[in-house]
Subunit: 236 residues, 2 copies
């Protein structure tokens, strides 16, 4: 089993985003692939990406908002386990054209992408890709899957740590009743029903909602619920 011991050790020394960049980029050798990509989006929409892809492909991808049609991204948003590109559904014009372009841009025909979810709605993708035959790739993924999962975990952990000095999410705390109130609203109840479910008056409920809205700096109820969910404050 591949352990990536030296990479994980190097990662431990990383203190800045630049270090992390270097460490991630150096991974392609260790992992025996042509390309490595780490791309993270947090709940504020801030993005951080490291990639060995051609800059013009990256620009084109972002400019065309390809994340919307990229089957890899779509699959990763819905799955928990890593995704082998060739096991996805590539029928559909948009997907085929996209793959065509990607291959032309040197991305490689084989790829393996790991979805990573962090607190506060953070979502990241860790991808390795190469030009390879199906057989070689099957063996590769069998051998490397666990190492890739661990690598992605530690890379993401490090990225979060650097981003906020720690991997702790922003400390906005709602009182139990505020959480209750937002939870009921997130479940689709209107204020009357929510108040009823919580056995309090609608007036009281409203106080909680307003208080929560204030804490979350939200403009309205929907916004408050969205922010609370993004920050992992609501278990709906």
């Amino acid at each position: 089993m591949v352990t990536l011991e030296s990479f994980l050790n190097r990662l431990n020394q990383v203190g800045t985003l630049d270090d992390l960049d270097t460490a991630i980029l150096s991974l392609s050798d260790e992992l025996n692939v042509e390309h490595v990509v780490y791309h993270s989006v947090n709940s504020s929409g801030d993005q951080y990406a490291v990639t060995t892809y051609e800059p013009h492909w990256v620009d084109h991808y972002l400019g065309s908002d390809y994340a919307r049609i990229d089957p890899v991204v779509q699959a990763c948003l819905r799955r928990f386990h890593p995704v082998d590109w060739k096991r996805l559904d590539w029928s559909g014009k948009a997907a085929r054209n996209f793959m065509q372009e990607a291959v032309t841009a040197g991305v490689g025909n084989q790829g393996f992408s790991i979805p990573i979810r962090g607190p506060s709605g953070q979502f990241a993708l860790f991808t390795v890709s190469s030009k390879d035959t199906d057989d070689t790739w099957v063996k590769y993924t069998e051998e490397y899957t666990r190492a890739l999962i661990l690598a992605s975990h530690y890379v993401n952990q490090k990225a979060l740590e650097i981003e906020k000095g720690t991997d702790q999410a922003d400390i906005v705390t709602l009182s139990p009743r505020e959480t209750d109130a937002l939870t009921m609203l997130a479940l689709g109840y209107n204020r009357a029903q929510a108040a009823d479910s919580l056995s309090i008056s609608e007036h009281t409920l409203r106080v909680y909602i307003e208080s929560a809205r204030f804490k979350l700096a939200a403009m309205n109820t929907t916004h408050a619920v969205a922010r609370a969910m993004n920050q992992g404050l609501l278990r709906v």
Copy 2:
């Protein structure tokens, strides 16, 4: 490095929840701990739990809604990386009392909990705990962390797979405009502002919202946004 090879192989054979139960419970030997807990909550609120804790402790925990004050749960909700219990903040009356009760119930004084996040807002905890000295525990976690991360990943993967036949999330797709509309609302804009931002009439916007609400089987806008976010349909 500990690899848990035999556990992961056994996990591969698992086909039912009962099998999974057995496999998880058998882990305590392999992991050299007294207790193992796997507890998953999905976006529908369905829960699945396997634990070696005393049933009366589990009942008491659930009945008292201890998840709300349990510092381990609270930390896991906010963190990405595994949590060593003793590195948490145990000041505060509620937390200390809780820990006291837990120890009395045979949970053990040392523990290590791994937060796991899946698609559609799924959240799970994988915990090992024991009665041990601090020194022993430090060595233990150093040696086992990677194995525990992998084990938690595969256990969760298996649980998702069994739950829905696959680890794919429910297939509800929103059209781009529907997504846009919900996104603007989740960002706190009201309908007029949202319509303006998307350069469409408010009437049109409303059609998208209603359509999205229908697809998501939501009772109102807030509900629709909540469901969409829970299902990973919105990147806010």
